[in-house]
């Protein structure tokens, strides 16, 4: 359902491929051609796609480490403040600074914070949630979560030229090519 209303900004061109292999090859091709604003879509992560698209190493690890550290120190200082500084109480005649007994909670809070980092960090890096996206305008694109393998080159890519892209997709053996408009 391509509409050619001039007021309608072109988001990119979407092409479907038959299987993971062809998708990877396409990705490689596009990457070699020097496109940067493009993406591939598949119902499951495809081995080797990161190399094909030469994706940078994910920054998630650092986010998690940061959160973990906050959990660790935060937990320790919380307990230290409550048990030693603010209201020291003689409990079973134990020393106030009873570190061995604090380890479980410090550990748990470290894990908890790290887990938050891992999950919300991932959503943040992926710019999710993003409920509305131009690609959803395409009826075809539904297959992306079922058995469809897509590539989309976005119009904002400096090299973007509709004909070139269309040609490139045809050569790569795309089964179905459509332009995606941003409303």
């Amino acid at each position: 359902m391509k509409t050619s209303d001039s007021d309608n900004k072109l988001y990119g061109i979407l092409a479907e491929f038959r299987n993971p292999k062809e998708l990877i090859d396409a990705a490689k091709l596009i990457n070699e051609k020097g496109y940067r604003h493009y993406d591939t879509f598949s119902p499951f992560p495809i081995h080797g796609m990161d190399k094909a698209m030469s994706l940078a190493k994910s920054k998630l690890g650092w986010i998690v480490a940061g959160h973990g550290l906050i959990g660790l120190t935060g937990a320790f200082y919380m307990i230290y403040y409550m048990m030693v500084i603010d209201y020291p109480l003689n409990i079973s005649g134990k020393t106030l600074m009873n570190l061995p007994a604090w380890i479980p909670i410090i550990f748990e809070l470290t894990v908890l914070l790290s887990a938050f980092g891992a999950v919300f960090g991932m959503f943040y890096l992926n710019g999710l949630p993003k409920l509305n996206h131009p690609l959803f305008n395409s009826e075809h694109f539904k297959k992306a979560t079922d058995d469809g393998f897509f590539v989309c080159i976005e119009s904002e890519d400096p090299q973007f030229e509709q004909e070139k892209v269309l040609k490139l997709f045809k050569d790569a053996g795309a089964t179905n090519i459509e332009s995606i408009f941003d409303e």
Binding site: L89, P129, L131, N132, S138, E139, K142, E183
Partner: protein
């Protein structure tokens, strides 16, 4: 049209996030403030059966607290005076003021006057007046400027945290025993003087549970 959600929904998550952060903070503050004795108890000013004015007696007339609250140094209670005590003066002064009708009735009938309690500690908190006044904790420290109160109200939160403030740093609050009933007492070298007094009366204000809860 395959879009399920309109464009604006992309903004929603951020809005919800910031919204909820603000909201939660508001909640915390509300609980912290409105549920604390600071808010709930301070200023509790019940109406008393007899319009007795501390402002007049303690303030203008400058009567000493202990004239009426005689047992404060020997008992855990700072006793509410017996009708007798009122009558000591009021069988000469204002003998027919109708403010004092109840007092006179009580005096004749021997029935007590039903004063309304202002300072209520929970029953599991044990407070002993004599123990405090004898080491120089002034009436004012807990009851406020009684001498300015037409009708007595609660001046301090009387929460556990509030007690502990003083028990942890008595030197900031104690005064010479001679000054306990003084209103508006203040000295410049409180800390210095306080430390002396703490040493003098060897005050070790307890902070363990049992000293107040048993």
């Amino acid at each position: 049209m395959a879009q399920i959600f309109p464009k604006w929904t992309n903004e929603a998550p951020r809005r919800i996030l910031f919204g909820s952060i603000i909201f939660l903070n508001a909640i915390v503050f509300a609980v912290w403030y409105f549920f604390s004795p600071e808010f709930t108890d301070v200023g509790y000013m019940p109406e008393q059966p007899v319009p007795y004015s501390h402002q007049v007696h303690a303030g203008q007339l400058g009567m000493d607290c202990q004239y009426c609250h005689t047992q404060v140094t020997e008992s855990k209670h700072a006793n509410i005076p017996a009708t007798q005590t009122c009558m000591n003066c009021h069988n000469q002064i204002l003998t027919d003021s109708e403010n004092l009708t109840l007092v006179r009735e009580s005096w004749e009938s021997g029935q007590p006057i039903e004063w309304v309690r202002v300072h209520m500690l929970p029953d599991f908190a044990y407070f002993n007046h004599s123990a405090h006044v004898s080491v120089g904790v002034g009436c004012e420290s807990c009851h406020g400027r009684i001498d300015r109160m037409e009708v007595v109200h609660q001046a301090e939160p009387m929460s556990m945290g509030w007690c502990l403030d003083c028990h942890r740093e008595p030197e900031k609050h104690v005064r010479p025993v001679s000054e306990i009933t003084t209103m508006g007492y203040s000295v410049d070298n409180q800390l210095e003087l306080g430390r002396e007094l703490v040493a003098k009366h060897n005050i070790n204000a307890p902070t363990y549970c049992q000293s107040c809860h048993h």
